[in-house]
Every structure is written in structure tokens, then in C-alpha cells.
């Protein structure tokens, strides 16, 4: 039975499931490092998923869909940026409003454009980049099958995400942008008094997090599912927030934490498929990622330290 569960596909699936979480989590990392809480990741991801799908339906081009997803993610996060930076409203409340807005807007446009609620027509998706022949039998072939499945079976955004995690990690520690970002979330007035605009820095960070969460939405629809369903993000934005915390507000940490949650997701899917073998109701498996999130938060938070000024609106002067 264990052999049915532990297959190369399980790990490949974990990597796929981790991708939207990781993108949103890295977005959350950048945003919170700049001192802005982004509870809206969930809604932004949903927005990206919808507009990405809509663009593919309109043009037939998955890549244009990805661009639309990223742009719409950044676009709706601008609302969050304006509310929480310029208007200095409560960032958690602003984020909640975005989540509701995204839910309403995508549902509304769905009916307006496609005439029905629920799920869109299937779209053209992005295919895996590599497609290697598998050799015949034997131990080496088996090893290759594992390697191929885990490393070479993925769609572009899956690889892009790994790249983004590494680049963001380096950028945060080695670049001017990164230094200012780190300072912004800890002591924005210190940044202001050396003449660097706090508002601008935070705006850029919120827009980046929106773009990343939008990309996460694109991965969901244009690479994984192949269509849009209302409220399909299903709490992933919140799990991503937890992944960001578990990853101690670092991009690579966020990615690794997302891998854990992705694995839980892959496992529950696998177990659902094998329902005939293991007679446990699927709903209990569906709970797994959410339970794991609570357990991880319970275990980690006391020791992880958030940026000092996160959640606090900044007043000039």
C-alpha cells in the first residue's frame, strides 16, 4: 500500500502544489518586510486566476493569460496599497475588504461575461517544458523515472518560482532595494530621515506581492486546473501567510515551508484517489493542509520574530 502512495508522482505533485503557495508566500514576505500585512493574498490570487483565465479564453494564448494574471494581481493590490499606505487604514481590514471584493468581482464578472456561475470553459494550458523519453526497465531506468518525474515534469511557472525564491533571497540581502526593504519594515522613520520615501518603498513592495500572488493564480488556472472556478483558491492565501511565517520572512524559507504544505496537499489528493484502498472519508483528508497550518503555527510562532513595524501605518513628519 505504501508503495502506491510513495511514488515519484507524489513528490512531483508536492512541487506543483507548493508553487502557488510559495509565490503568494514570497509576495507576503516582501510585503511584510516592508511593514505592510497582506491578508489579501487570497483575494489577489483569486483575481489573478480569474483574469488569467479570461485572457486565455479571449485570446487563446496562455502566456498572455499569465501576463493578465500578474497585471490584475498588481492592480487589485494597488487598492490595498492605497488604503493601507496613503489612507493609513487598518491593514488587516483593508485586506479583508480585498478578499471580499475579489470574491464578489470574479463571481460578478463570471456571470456577466460567461452567463453562468460556477466554472468556466476549459482553457489552453501551459505544458511541461521538458518531455524526455523514458528508457526501458532496470534499476537505472527506475531511478531515472523518479528523477525525470520530480525534476523534469513541470510547467514553466514551477521552475520560475524556484528562480524567484532564490533571486528574491539574494536581492533582499545584497541590493539597495533589499536593504531599504528590510529597514522599512523595522523602522520606517529611520528610512524617512535619510531621505528615502517610505510610501514609495511600501507601494513597490505591495505591488510586487500583488504581482506574485497574481502569478500564483495563473499557476492554478493556466498550469494546474485548466479552468476557473469561483472561490477556487480555497484558503491558499492564508496558508501562504503561514508559510511566510514558518519561513521566517525569507523567500527561500517561504518556498521550503510551502513545500511542506504542498506535500500535505499532494498526499491528501493521493489518498483520495486511493480511497478504495484506504477507507477514510475524503473530507478528513481535505482538512489536512489546514490542520497542518495550525500545527505549524502553534509550533513555530513563539520563536519567529516578525518585522518590528509590520502592520503599523506610517505617518510622514
Amino acid at each position: 500500500m505504501l508503495g502506491d502512495i510513495i511514488t515519484p508522482d507524489l513528490f512531483a505533485s508536492a512541487l506543483r502544489m507548493a508553487t502557488p503557495l510559495a509565490l503568494a508566500a514570497i509576495g507576503g514576505t516582501i510585503c511584510e518586510r516592508a511593514g505592510v500585512v497582506n491578508i489579501a493574498l487570497e483575494g489577489i490570487m483569486l483575481t489573478g486566476a480569474f483574469f488569467g483565465t479570461a485572457m486565455v479564453l479571449l485570446t487563446g494564448s496562455p502566456w498572455l493569460g499569465v501576463i493578465a494574471a500578474v497585471a490584475s494581481g498588481a492592480g487589485i493590490s494597488a487598492v490595498h496599497a492605497f488604503a493601507s499606505i496613503n489612507l493609513r487604514s487598518n491593514q488587516v481590514i483593508s485586506g479583508t475588504a480585498i478578499n471580499l471584493l475579489a470574491l464578489g468581482l470574479t463571481g460578478f464578472l463570471m456571470e456577466l461575461w460567461y452567463g453562468h456561475p460556477g466554472t468556466t470553459d476549459p482553457i489552453k494550458v501551459l505544458r511541461p517544458i521538458f518531455n524526455f523519453e523514458s528508457p526501458g526497465g532496470g534499476a537505472i531506468a527506475e531511478a531515472w523515472r523518479w528523477f525525470d518525474s520530480i525534476v523534469f515534469s513541470h510547467t514553466p511557472i514551477v521552475y520560475l518560482t524556484i528562480l524567484i525564491a532564490i533571486v528574491a533571497q539574494v536581492a533582499i540581502h545584497r541590493t539597495k532595494w533589499g536593504l531599504r526593504l528590510r529597514a522599512l519594515g523595522e523602522h520606517p522613520r529611520a528610512v524617512d530621515t535619510v531621505g528615502v520615501s517610505v510610501y514609495r518603498g511600501r507601494w513597490v513592495a505591495v505591488l510586487m506581492s500583488g504581482a506574485l500572488a497574481g502569478l500564483a493564480g495563473a499557476n492554478l488556472t493556466i498550469e494546474q486546473v485548466g479552468s476557473f472556478t469561483e472561490n477556487m483558491t480555497n484558503g491558499r492565501g492564508f496558508i501562504a501567510l503561514a508559510a511566510n511565517i514558518f519561513g521566517r520572512w525569507t523567500p527561500v524559507g517561504s518556498y521550503l515551508a510551502s513545500l511542506l504544505f504542498g506535500f500535505a496537499d499532494a498526499l491528501q489528493i493521493k489518498l483520495q484517489i486511493l480511497r478504495g484502498v484506504v477507507s477514510i472519508p475524503p473530507q478528513l483528508f481535505l482538512m489536512l493542509p489546514y490542520l497542518l497550518t495550525v500545527i505549524v503555527l502553534a509550533g513555530v510562532i513563539g520563536r519567529a520574530v516578525a518585522p518590528a513595524a509590520v502592520g503599523e501605518p506610517y505617518e510622514k513628519g
Binding site: 541590493t175 536593504l179 523595522e186 535619510v194 528615502v196
Partner: protein, 519 residues
């Protein structure tokens, strides 16, 4: 031509004229002290110069040219730097990262850390400001952090440096070092504005003294032409009462507070209080004197039940409250005027009555079972407001709308009005003006007269000398000396506060890493 000139700078806030036509000049290579008591408008006028506030009238001239400074960026570009009372340093970042922030060397957005580090080292060598460029701010003592602030300004190429109350957090040793740094800065051609309310510092370091009172410049002089008494009179506007006579001698009727072998950890897990033993009698004021950060805060927090000691005992009237929480301590007869009244003393969104009942809100007569008794609460509030002279139209006003002095009166009214066995007063007059300070002092003395035990923790030596019957000097978590009020004077206290009188060998060993600056 003066480097910096202020012409009739006026800044009004609704209801307050913070700066009323303030004018003065700063010459190149000069140290000007801006002297005045709390609320005189010193920081306001310098915040105008630094671009943090915009003036309602008047102008600021830099190198003889009118400068419209709207942001710190513009101030820095003009060559004006400011070291704030609260440091503008990012704690988890390194010294180098903090100094180059905003003007990082490097290409294509990538920081050239080697160059950055080298420039920091060059600057620190040139001005004799030794720091470790790779240390993280959070690991540095405050004196060292202040150096980083000064280096940051120098890195930005400032010619005028404003220091806002720079000595408030320093040990006397560090103050002397700061003064020599300031002198080396002016030797290099910089000009310095030094904001303070401490007379002796002005006399020690200033070339010229500008005295402010109630938003105006009321006088200008030099250390040669005046003395402490003259300056004090100028600053306050009348002769300062330097002693309040206590009418009774302290009589130890009974021991109210007894602390034995107390050890308390700090937030960072270090031992902040390292084995402290003392007692306070009823009808006695015992003051804990010391430089900020020598364990006083942790000592107070452990006594009032906000911090768990790691060893030792605390007895209040014989009852063990070592591990008691704040509620138990209050019920055992303890009152506490906290150090930070905004954070811990008051709920600014509550009205006066709700604030006055805070801590007594679940005991008779203000509560009966689960219910509050609003009638009793507001009757008490009306009495306290009258007794403690809190200036307010009614008990229903939100505490956040009171002035600072009235807010502190509110805290004092609650804590002394509760009629405690022991009053723990931590920095009870910080940030208050002279009138409010006198009021608080009188209330503390009145508590003593009525037989209460008072533990006073203060950074102000004057306050300690004025009120205390006995003084405990705290240094690095220990009580290094106990003095009676007769034995205590500023000089003796200062000596012990900086570790004097300890074992000679130890003191010398300690000095190198702690103050030598070559860490």
C-alpha cells in the same frame, strides 16, 4: 557669515504657540547649546530646521541664503543632520548598513559592501568614533548606538549637526566622551546645536548658550558670563526652589517592602538584576538612583508583578509576592506609577472615571460580583479630580485629550488615591513641566507623611536628592552603595552610579570593552 540662521521662526499648534519668533545664529565651528525646560519649544524649533515640521512664520537661512526645508532629505542635502532623542537606527541591521542606508555605494542596484565598510572605517578613524562596522545595532550599548547616529550624519556630509538631548541615555563617562567627540567635530569645521535641559552640560561644552522658555528665546549668554543659578533663573523664569523641607524625620515603624537576593532576567535573557537586597519602611522614601539601563526597570517590573524573578523573594507586609501577578500585588496593597504612562499608565481611549477605577474595577465599592457600579465610580472620579487638581471639564472626558501634566496627575490620583501600603514610583516626573513636577513631588511627600512606604526610581539626581530619605545606587544590576539623605550629594552619587567604589580591578577590566569603544 553664520552657517545657520533662524529669523523669527514661529510654529503654532492649535491652542499652543510652540515657537514664538525664535531667532538665533550658529557660526561655523561653534557649539551652541539650546537650553530650556521640557515644553519650552527647543525640539520643535529644531524639527522645523530639520524639515520635520513646517513653520508658520519666519525663515531659516543656510550659508546666508533662505532655505525652504520641507523634508529631512532637503535638510541633509543642505548639510544639516540631526541625532534624535529616539535613535533612527534599524536594530537588526549592521552598523555599516545603517550608516550607508539611503546612499549605498555600488552599481546596478547591488551594494558594494566592501566599499561601504571601508568608508565607515575611514570616518570612524578620522573623527575618533570607534565602532565595529559589522556589529548589529541591537547588540550595541546605547552610547555606541549614538556614535553610529553621529557617523551616519557625517557619512551624509553634514556641516551642521543637531543633537537632541544626547546625554539623557548616557553614563557620565560616556557623556565626557561625547563632549570630546563634539569638540573634535568642531575642530574639523562642523557646527553643533546641542539641545538640553541640564545646566552642568551647558556649562561644560557650549561656546554660546541660548535659553528658551515657553516658546521664546529669553536670553543668550556664554558659560563665562553666567553660572548655574543664573541659568536656572533664566530657564524657569523665577528663582528655583532647590529644597522642599520635610516636616518629619523618617521613622521606621514597620518594614513594608523587603527584597532579598532578587535576581531578574531582562527581555533578552541576561541577568538585569543580579542579587539585590533592601527594605523600605512605612513613612520612608527610598530612592533607587542609577544610569538608565542598569536594571531599574526590571527591578520595578518584578516588584509590581509584571516580570518573573529567577531567584530571591519579595515580601510586602510579610506576604510573599515574589511570583504574584500584578492583580495579586495590587490587592496586597501595592500601587505603581509606571515609567511609561502612555503605554502602561493610562488607557487613553477611556474616560477619566474609567481610568481612575482601573485596577480597582473589580473590588467593592466599584463592583459587585460581575457588575460594575457606575454611580460609585463616577462619585469617586469627581472626588479625585478635585483632590488632585486635574484640569478637566468633566469626568467623562477621554484621557487622551488631557495635557501631559494632567495625564500624570490622573495616574498619581489613581495610584495614591487607592491608599496603598507601598507606592512604587518609576520616573514619575519624566517629561513634565516645572509646575507639574512640583505637584507630583508634593503628592509623593504627602504619601510619605501619611505613613506609606515609597520606592522611587529616578534617573534625575535632583529628584533623588530632593525626595529620598535613603538612596540605593544601582549599577549593572547590583546595589553598589546605600547612602542616607545626609551623605548623598550629586558628586557622590555620580561616582557610585558609574561603578566607582567597586573592586578596583573589576572596574578597570569592565571599562575597556564597555566604554573604550574598541569592541
Amino acid at each position: 557669515m553664520p552657517v545657520l540662521e533662524l529669523r523669527e521662526v514661529t510654529k503654532a499648534f492649535p491652542g499652543v504657540l510652540a515657537n514664538d519668533r525664535v531667532s538665533f545664529v550658529l557660526e561655523k565651528g561653534e557649539i551652541v547649546a539650546l537650553l530650556g525646560e521640557n515644553g519650552a519649544g527647543k525640539s520643535t524649533v529644531m524639527n522645523v530646521v530639520y524639515g520635520l515640521l513646517s513653520p508658520d512664520g519666519g525663515e531659516v537661512l543656510m550659508d546666508g541664503r533662505p532655505a525652504r526645508i520641507k523634508s529631512p532629505r532637503q535638510a541633509i542635502d543642505l548639510g544639516i543632520g540631526m541625532v534624535h532623542q529616539h535613535f533612527m537606527l534599524v536594530e537588526p541591521l549592521t552598523v555599516t548598513e545603517n550608516i550607508v542606508l539611503g546612499r549605498e555605494p555600488g552599481r546596478f542596484g547591488v551594494i558594494d559592501f566592501a566599499t561601504a565598510r571601508r568608508r565607515v572605517e575611514e570616518l570612524s578613524l578620522r573623527y575618533g568614533l570607534k565602532v565595529d562596522p559589522d556589529a548589529r545595532i541591537v547588540d550595541l550599548p546605547v552610547g555606541m548606538q549614538q556614535r553610529v547616529e553621529i557617523l551616519k550624519a557625517l557619512y551624509q556630509g553634514v556641516r551642521v549637526l543637531i543633537l537632541d538631548e544626547p546625554t539623557a541615555v548616557l553614563t557620565p563617562q560616556e557623556v565626557r566622551e561625547l563632549f570630546s567627540v563634539i569638540r573634535s567635530l568642531v575642530d574639523e569645521g562642523l557646527s553643533v546645536v546641542f539641545i538640553t535641559h541640564k545646566l552642568e552640560e551647558v556649562m561644560a561644552v557650549a561656546d554660546r548658550i541660548i535659553v528658551m522658555r515657553a516658546g521664546r528665546v529669553v536670553g543668550e549668554t556664554t558659560p563665562e558670563k553666567t553660572d548655574d543659578v543664573g541659568l536656572a533663573r533664566m530657564m524657569v523664569g523665577r528663582d528655583v526652589v532647590l529644597r522642599i523641607e520635610k516636616t518629619t524625620k523618617p521613622t521606621c515603624r514597620d518594614t513594608v517592602l523587603h527584597v532579598e537576593g532578587l535576581r531578574v532576567p531582562s527581555d533578552r535573557g541576561l541577568e538585569a538584576v543580579a542579587g539585590v537586597t533592601f527594605s523600605v519602611c512605612g513613612g520612608e522614601i527610598v530612592a533607587v538612583a542609577g544610569v538608565s539601563g542598569n536594571g531599574q526597570t526590571e527591578l520595578v517590573e518584578s516588584i509590581v508583578g509584571l516580570r518573573r524573578p529567577s531567584a530571591g523573594t519579595i515580601l510586602l507586609k510579610g506576604v510573599d509576592i515574589t511570583r504574584a501577578d500584578a492583580r495579586t500585588s495590587i490587592e496586597a496593597g501595592l500601587s505603581h506609577i509606571p515609567e511609561d504612562r502612555h503605554r502602561r499608565g493610562l488607557i487613553l481611549q477611556f474616560d477619566l472615571a474609567e481610568n481612575l477605577v482601573l485596577g480597582d474595577h473589580r473590588v467593592a465599592p466599584y463592583a459587585k460580583g460581575p457588575l460594575m457600579r457606575p454611580g460609585k465610580v463616577s462619585a469617586m472620579a469627581v472626588t479625585r479630580i478635585a483632590d488632585y487638581d486635574i484640569r478637566t471639564p468633566s469626568a467623562g472626558v477621554i484621557a487622551g485629550n488631557l495635557s501631559g501634566g494632567n495625564q500624570q496627575k490622573l495616574v498619581v490620583a489613581r495610584e495614591i488615591g487607592r491608599n496603598p501600603e507601598l507606592l512604587v514610583a518609576a520616573q514619575p516626573t519624566r517629561g513634565l513641566d516645572v509646575g507639574a513636577i512640583e505637584f507630583v513631588h508634593r503628592q509623593i511627600l504627602a504619601a510619605r507623611e501619611s505613613g506609606k512606604a515609597v520606592l522611587l526610581v529616578s534617573l534625575e539626581l535632583e529628584e533623588v536628592l530632593l525626595l529620598a530619605d535613603r538612596v540605593l545606587v544601582m549599577y549593572e544590576g547590583r546595589i553598589v552603595k546605600e547612602l542616607s539623605s545626609g551623605e548623598a550629594d550629586a558628586e557622590t552619587l555620580g561616582y557610585y552610579m558609574t561603578g566607582g567604589g567597586g573592586e578596583k580591578l573589576n572596574a578597570q577590566e569592565r571599562q575597556a570593552p564597555a566604554h573604550g569603544g574598541d569592541a
